[in-house]
Symmetry: C2
DNA sequence: CATTTTATATACCGAACGGTATAATGAGAT
DNA sequence: ATCTCATTATACCGTTCGGTATATAAAATG
């Protein structure tokens, strides 16, 4: 069982550094000091390995995201908690977060994108719901909730990419003030 | 010579749809109705094909970007022209722009990322310069010009991704008002 | 007309790809 | 002590990978 975790760890590092398609199964098991049948015993296929990796890491994230939505606050506070959850997740495992981002922006017909798509969709649905619940504060959004949701997660991702540039050694965690600024900037964008 | 263009066109479509690593050389020449030696005659290698594709498409873009910088205006106007140039380029060939974005967010050690890196760096240098020239309006930026530049292009990219969601059939071009809003939102983010 | 140059195809290369049939290992249960 | 079952390795599969040696056809050049 620890070898299963080891394989997932090695796969994460290699996918992050080289990209899913550019990494061979042989390369993954070599790094783990194992052989191919072990990998296929646990995951069935290369894609199965990616899927298991995503599922394992993202199910805890999903719980945290839904938690952020539970408390019935105004839209600004909700967005603040959402952003905080994203940033915490990023701080906990930057490599995985950046891998997620690369997959999200990758080609639509690529099987790696197909693998992450359901999770991205699920997160969006949560954020869309946040905007729908805030219709009393935001007025008629004319069905633009989904665009707002994409915009919000895009703003966060873009902020985190910037964070990687500003602090490549990962010395600092993201501050409360940074998150507040982030939400303010996005809210300003909505009201214009 | 027309076959050279044809190969670049086919490669662009396939790279966009499936990703650089997931597309085989055979697949490209099949789509073009040609054979492998023809591709290798013109480009030398698969990576050479990608590089030629990027160079061909991006050299005209680079000229337009530098043009936007030439006129000595205030920072808001400069950013407006920059954003307009990006959006026009996007409207002219969405597939290529989205391919560019996917490459930009792809794994750092991947050869496809290495191929687009010099162009991305060059564009950043231009935008960094814009912020440096505006130090009289923005005050002491404490060496954060580069972050501003990443932030600005990130904001644009994220807006264009959103545009693809909102108008998948590409019926409308991006309006002046949308560009103005984009710049406003970014400027607001800087001043906080 | 002969010759070089450009552009394309046939047929192939070794290596790497994702994946598997089979067997050995080792710990826990009967 | 044997049996089971989870786990791992050896050795292999057919396919596809990026890339090329060689031939050919057409076009430009002398």
């Amino acid at each position: 069982m620890e070898n299963k975790m080891l394989l997932m760890q090695c796969a994460k590092e290699l996918f992050y550094a080289k990209g899913y398609d550019a990494v061979g199964v042989q390369e993954i098991v070599d790094r783990a000091g194992l052989t191919k049948p072990t990998l296929y015993y646990y995951f069935g296929s290369k894609l199965g390995l990616l899927k298991t990796l995503l599922e394992t890491k993202l199910q805890e994230f999903d719980l945290l995201v839904e938690e952020s939505m539970k408390m019935d606050q105004d839209i600004r506070a909700t967005l603040y908690w959402l952003a905080k959850t994203y940033c915490n997740f990023f701080d906990k495992d930057r490599e995985f977060y950046m891998l997620m981002m690369a997959l999200f922006y990758s080609a639509r017909e690529n099987e790696a994108y197909q693998a992450i798509k359901p999770y991205v969709t699920a997160f969006y649905d949560n954020v869309v719901e946040a905007f729908e619940n805030a219709s009393d504060q935001l007025g008629n959004m004319n069905g633009r909730q989904r665009q707002f949701a994409i915009g919000f997660t895009g703003t966060i991702n873009h902020f985190l990419l910037l964070q990687c540039e500003a602090d490549p050694e990962h010395k600092k965690e993201i501050s409360e003030q940074q998150i507040i600024n982030l939400v303010n900037q996005f809210m300003y964008g909505i009201f214009t």
